[in-house]
Symmetry: C2
Subunit: 297 residues, 2 copies
């Protein structure tokens, strides 16, 4: 079989523990990879190391930037490198139009730059396929934290999941499979119906106080202030709260502290708890986009 990405060269710039895995996957698909700002060695066939962005970008069909892209000054998030690298419009101008620029989520500066240079920006974290698969390491990561902090087993515990989006559904399924009595708080009738279909216990968000008061552990996935001071006042001090919603979460953490409740913000788990799985999850759509491009050219 012809490798999918034969003849394609990709620049990988900085990034976290997922990125060496991503590079392995690209190499395995037949691509050549130019790397800057990551602790990988050039001993792997197909990998070329650079110490500056300009050299790294020559002749590439795609650029993979860190998940957090660049900050408002163009600084790249190269957490595994001691060097700092800045992306500028001048450097981006080295790329031919329509070159793919992959990142996790793009800030205003990156959006502006890529649009002005006519580059194809793909925000991986906005792709449904990435978000759904990322829910697996997110759910496992927060369950691991719960296991570490709870004096009881997940099996037999009373767990409440707030929200039934991609992460909420995966987490509720995992908890239930592990033997937790799992209640899911949601608003939409269709979501509550799906909860019931999955043999979990649906709770309308307007009636959630009672189930929160009984919970051993509460997981919030709703990106809005749902665990307000008033709601937290109903929660037992033995209960532990984990908030997976994007920073700042859906919990009034200051109120939780005043009330003596243990509440933990648990964002960005995939790259931290399962970098290999999370790297593979990112690789899949990148390879698919580049494969299509190769097939079309």
């Amino acid at each position: 079989m012809q490798p999918k990405l034969k003849g394609v060269t990709v620049a990988v710039i900085g990034g976290d523990a997922r990125f060496p895995v991503l590079i392995d996957e690209l190499i395995a698909s037949g691509a050549r990879v130019n790397v800057v700002g990551l602790p990988v060695t050039s001993s792997v066939k197909g990998v070329t190391l650079y110490n500056n962005l300009e050299g790294c970008l020559v002749g590439v069909q795609a650029v993979i930037l860190p998940i957090l892209g660049i900050d408002e000054k163009g600084l790249l998030h190269c957490v595994l490198s001691e060097q700092t690298y800045h992306m500028t419009e001048q450097i981006m101008a080295l790329l031919p139009g329509r070159t793919f620029i992959f990142t996790g989520l793009a800030g205003p500066l990156l959006k502006q730059m890529t649009s002005r240079m006519n580059l194809r920006l793909i925000e991986l974290m906005k792709l449904d396929e990435v978000a759904i698969l990322n829910a697996i390491p997110s759910a496992e990561g927060v369950v691991q934290m719960a296991m570490e902090l709870l004096p009881i087993t997940i099996h037999g515990s009373l767990a409440v999941v707030l929200g039934f989006g991609r992460t909420g559904m995966t987490l509720a399924r995992l908890l239930s499979a592990m033997g937790a009595n799992t209640r899911v708080v949601a608003r939409k009738p269709a979501a509550l119906a799906r909860v019931a279909e999955m043999n979990l216990i649906p709770v309308d968000i307007n009636n959630m106080l009672e189930c929160l008061a009984e919970a051993d552990v509460i997981f919030n996935t709703i990106p809005a202030l749902v665990l307000t001071e008033e709601v937290l006042g109903m929660v037992s001090p033995d209960t532990i709260i984990f908030d997976l919603a994007s920073d700042p979460g859906g919990t009034d953490f200051q109120a939780a502290e005043r009330l003596g409740l243990k509440a933990v913000l648990a964002p960005s788990l995939p790259g931290r708890v399962a970098p290999k799985t999370a790297g593979r999850i990112l690789a899949q759509p990148i390879i698919r986009f580049l494969e299509k491009k190769t097939a079309n050219s």
Copy 2:
């Protein structure tokens, strides 16, 4: 309803983090509890604290010793107390004949003492009901360790469980429920049949090499040297091995180290990872024994 253990007094001597939970359960069942060697307060109704064994034993119908009982010199395993306490035949002689003595596993000295004094020794860890329920925190504890050490999710991993006793069965079920491709190595045809019935993949122990070579993670529960140097030679250096079999486990740890394999001994997990659940598991049979005794008297 009449509390089950009304009129019963129990001495609880030392022990680990499970024991305060055990005391709570006894009190909730209506017993009075005399305590020595544990950091509990006498503010709970029904609890009386002592600083010597003699006082603690007066008028009790049962004595609960630490899980590891006493050592060969009579020293009690009071891991939560700074004081040391010794059990002697003289002290045991204060108890009327047929008094219950509960411990986890008894050594030769405790067996000898209780037999000579005509006391009823119950080894909780030898009770099937305790071993089966303890398999839950054991399995969750080792899965937690696996999550902490593996760079991949349990979901989608290739997991091998060696042995299909009480812990092996619980662990295999948990891994499979979490989405691992779960293979179970066993010897007995009936065990392999049960593995197949549970929709897991049965592997005869005589053919285990191939599945061990492919595994992301291996869990041994067989209390005999199964992971020999020769077998370990087949295992990939990326694979992590957890050994739950009683000390010294079923792994040649020195050979594993020579081969550059990561192998972890993981014994006595219940009390460490889920003391509250594990304390309740111990309380159940104790309360049942004492309830029967009360009903008969």
